[in-house]
């Protein structure tokens, strides 16, 4: 019997520019297909065009776009409105914003029932509570009355799914359902989707994270610039990728890649500073000097204890990784290390001298010794400056003629050409922005660099380039990093020693391989188990 969903060479263009072309796949009830690709690959537009929501001014065409007996291409707006929610559920991309902040969560779920069900208001409200329970939300009665911002990221995502499946659709499209979620929460959501698929719901899973897709999808389509470059059963595509782009994608995944192992083939650092391959070995584990140390750090916001008795030390030339879920206090530790925020108790010492106790005036000359890069690089640039001005300001060489030369050299060191000087950061890609942020951070030749989730919002392939760049700079200048992240794979690949934080406390610390080898604290074990593995583990 023919498949539930049939898509034959789908094409979507916005006013002349083609965004999706030649996408074809079938889907049976109870089957899960994965759409993988980086941002801008058209995977999200493909999924939305099934609902007729490709976007303002989209021209959608296909030789076949059928769902059961309905031809989605010629469907009237009324028919499409009846299908959406009743037959095809959709979990939107930025799930954390998919709930109206001003309305109670229960009401958003009840809306689907109102549109497609015979139930009266009272029953709808009760049904919404049941649905919340069904998707694993504790205390559903209380949560239904609360608003989106009173729920954690995981609970919000579950509420969105509850809203999408309220009318028992036969096909569910999940667009990046687990982005920006901590690994344990991510695992929970994937288990829920798996249960729905097992109960017979067709599932289209869209993500840039190969590991996430590989856990659920039986077949995978790899998309690049609007076209499907490779498709087939999951094990085949991930085990022995045929298309070079897929190979690069698989290789770029940092999980399980040993320390210092380059994630990208291309050498990002040309020029004199590139270390010869022989030096690629990790520096001898000589007991080098401690550049940054903290002991007994405590920080309280109102009656919430954000950081509770945290101590660490970063050695020259090595990286201390800090991993933990959102709300575990990692960012507060970073701000205390940078002395942007004052600890309620405990001290931070930089290069052996007091740092957190010093006054801002005393600290200012030594600020050059410690730099920082952030997850959102763009917001850390002065919007009115070009790249050249930003870097010249960092070099504080001001207007001198040599400034131009020094800036070009700095750009080259992070793998960008001089033509970037005149550009505005706003017009560049995420990866390029982060490179400029790194260039600005290393301009004053710091000893320590605080990296607060530097690659969390980057695509896998871009992530790889930035991580390799950080490795090379560490090796070239003996930089020490305090590397903060929630993606276990990335933190493990980058750090020599590790801190695992939970609820503001350090639950475990030690050499990275030792912690991953035999995790002593149950929470660390849970974290490691939850981290998605490439080979379907």
């Amino acid at each position: 019997m023919s498949a539930m969903l049939e898509v034959r060479d789908l094409r979507v263009s916005f006013g002349g520019t083609t965004v999706v072309s030649g996408v074809s796949f079938d889907l049976e009830a109870g089957e899960c297909i994965g759409l993988v690709g980086e941002s801008g690959s058209g995977k999200s537009v493909t999924a939305r065009s099934l609902l007729g929501l490709a976007g303002e001014g989209a021209a959608v065409s296909a030789s076949a776009l059928r769902f059961d007996e309905h031809d989605l291409l010629s469907a009237s707006p009324r028919l499409l409105r009846r299908l959406r929610g009743r037959e095809i559920g959709y979990v939107s991309q930025a799930a954390l914003l998919a709930l109206d902040p001003l309305r109670p969560v229960g009401r958003e779920i009840a809306d689907t029932l109102r549109l497609h069900g015979p139930l009266g208001p009272r029953q709808r409200q009760d049904r919404a509570v049941e649905l919340l329970a069904e998707v694993g939300v504790p205390e559903p009665e209380l949560r239904a009355g609360q608003r989106a911002d009173e729920l954690s990221g995981g609970l919000r995502q579950r509420a969105v799914i509850a809203s999408a499946i309220a009318a028992r659709p036969r096909l569910l499209i999940a667009d990046e359902p687990t982005t920006a979620l901590d690994s344990t929460v991510q695992a929970g959501i994937l288990r829920l989707l798996e249960r729905l698929r097992a109960e017979g719901m067709g599932l289209i899973l869209i993500s840039h994270d190969l590991a996430v897709v590989s856990r659920l999808a039986s077949r995978i389509l790899v998309m690049r610039a609007g076209e499907v470059v490779e498709s087939g059963p999951t094990d085949e595509v991930l085990g022995s990728p045929r298309h070079p782009y897929t190979r690069r994608l698989v290789a770029a995944v940092a999980t399980d890649r040993p320390r210092w192992a380059p994630l990208t083939e291309a050498r990002p650092m040309a020029g004199a500073l590139a270390p010869s391959p022989s030096e690629a070995l990790p520096p001898a584990a000589v007991p080098s000097e401690v550049v940054l140390e903290a002991s007994g750090l405590v920080r309280r916001f109102g009656d919430r204890l954000a950081v509770d008795d945290v101590g660490f030390s970063v050695r020259r030339g090595s990286t201390l990784g800090v991993v933990g879920e959102s709300g575990s206090g990692k960012t507060t530790v970073a701000r205390l290390a940078l002395a942007i925020d004052r600890p309620d108790a405990g001290t931070v010492r930089l290069l052996g001298e007091p740092w957190s106790e010093a006054t801002e005036r005393e600290r200012r000359p030594r600020r050059a010794r410690i730099g920082a890069i952030y997850q959102d690089a763009l917001s850390s640039f002065d919007p009115r400056w070009t790249v050249g001005q930003t870097l010249a300001d960092a070099l504080s060489s001001g207007r001198t003629r040599r400034a131009g030369e020094e800036v070009a050299e700095l750009l080259e060191r992070v793998g960008l050409g001089p033509e970037f000087m005149a550009r505005r950061p706003r017009g560049l890609s995420g990866g390029q922005q982060q490179r400029i942020a790194i260039a600005r951070a290393i301009a004053p030749r710091p000893d320590v660099l605080i990296c607060d989730e530097p690659v969390s919002s980057l695509d896998v392939s871009v992530q790889a380039q930035v991580l390799d760049l950080l490795d090379e700079l560490q090796r070239a200048y003996g930089l020490s990093y305090l590397f903060i992240g929630h993606d276990l794979g990335v933190v493990r690949h980058m750090s020599d020693e590790l801190l695992v934080m939970r609820g503001g406390r350090v639950v475990e610390s030690g050499a990275t391989e030792r912690v991953f080898g035999d995790p002593r604290h149950p929470y660390t074990r849970e974290l490691i188990a939850a981290a998605p593995r490439l080979n379907g583990g």
Binding site: L338, I340, R364, P365, R367, A368, I370, G371, A372, Y374, D376, S379, S380, F381, D382, P383, R384, D393, A394, S396, R424, R440, P444
Partner: protein, 267 residues
């Protein structure tokens, strides 16, 4: 959201006409705006007098052209006073210590508690009507509004990540304020200015309506509009055209301000 092209052109054309009229009135309207011709009073709009004539036979078109200067001057200077005062208050509230913010906000609230018109009325009744006093009065009564906006903008920019990044790079407070904070504030100030000019002209004309604005026989739009209002039943053009130009100038300044803002934001 891009504003449709033609609208910007129209607004630009109107503004160009106004500036030209303000700088070289005799170029666009050779007649003397003050000369009276009793025999030609109350003439309807015709080729000779495109906007008709007023009660003393003076061409309304000529007086509008010659009135552009004073009206724009009032608009600009009232806005300058309003935004100048607001900048001081806004920066003090936004940048200063908490008690300064509390004090300044209370002061702004006191200014706000006065209905704008009463502030202007008191000021004018004390220092007498006329272009200068009505300009200062309009400036004073618009200042609290701007102060609140500037304060919230300053608070916004003050918490921006790029200011914290500047601190990490070791920039002192003075450098952070003057090299980074203020220039970024200028962007939003620009929109306020363009909006302010339009509103000040509208406001000045309301004061003239109440007889508190420009002194006759000055060819100021508000005074002309106010003079025309008693003849509105029989000679509609005496009020219509000055009112039209007040609206046109306010609309075009706002449109230009808005489209420049969009262009800056999306550049």
């Amino acid at each position: 959201m891009r504003r449709p092209r033609p609208l910007e052109l129209i607004a630009a054309a109107v503004l160009l006409f106004l500036v030209l009229a303000a700088l070289f009135p005799s170029l666009l309207a050779p007649g003397d705006p003050l000369a009276i011709h009793p025999a030609e009073s109350f003439l309807a709009p015709s080729w000779a007098h495109p906007f008709g004539t007023d009660e003393s036979g003076r061409g309304i078109y000529t007086r509008i052209v010659h009135g552009a200067g004073p009206s724009l001057v009032i608009g600009l200077s009232a806005t300058a006073i309003g935004i100048g005062l607001a900048l001081v208050l806004g920066l003090a509230a936004g940048l200063g210590p908490r008690w300064l913010d509390f004090g300044t906000t209370r002061f702004v609230e006191v200014l706000f508690a006065f209905p704008g018109l009463l502030l202007a009325l008191l000021f004018i009744v004390i220092y007498g009507p006329g272009v200068v006093t009505s300009t200062i009065a309009v400036g004073l009564s618009t200042a609290p509004g701007y102060a609140r906006i500037i304060r919230s903008q300053v608070l916004l920019v003050r918490r921006a990540p790029y200011l914290e990044a500047a601190r990490v790079l070791g920039r002192g407070p003075a450098v952070r304020v003057f090299r980074t904070l203020l220039p970024n504030l200028a962007g939003s100030l620009f929109v306020l200015v363009t909006l302010g000019i339009g509103q000040s002209i509208v406001w000045a004309s309301s004061l003239s309506y109440l007889g508190l604005g420009a002194v006759p026989p000055a060819a100021e739009w508000g005074a002309m509009l106010s003079a025309g209002r008693t003849y509105v039943a029989s000679f509609w053009w005496m009020s219509f055209f000055p009112g039209l130009f007040i609206v046109l100038s306010a609309v075009s300044t706002t449109l230009i301000g808005r489209s420049l803002q969009n262009r800056v934001r999306s550049a």
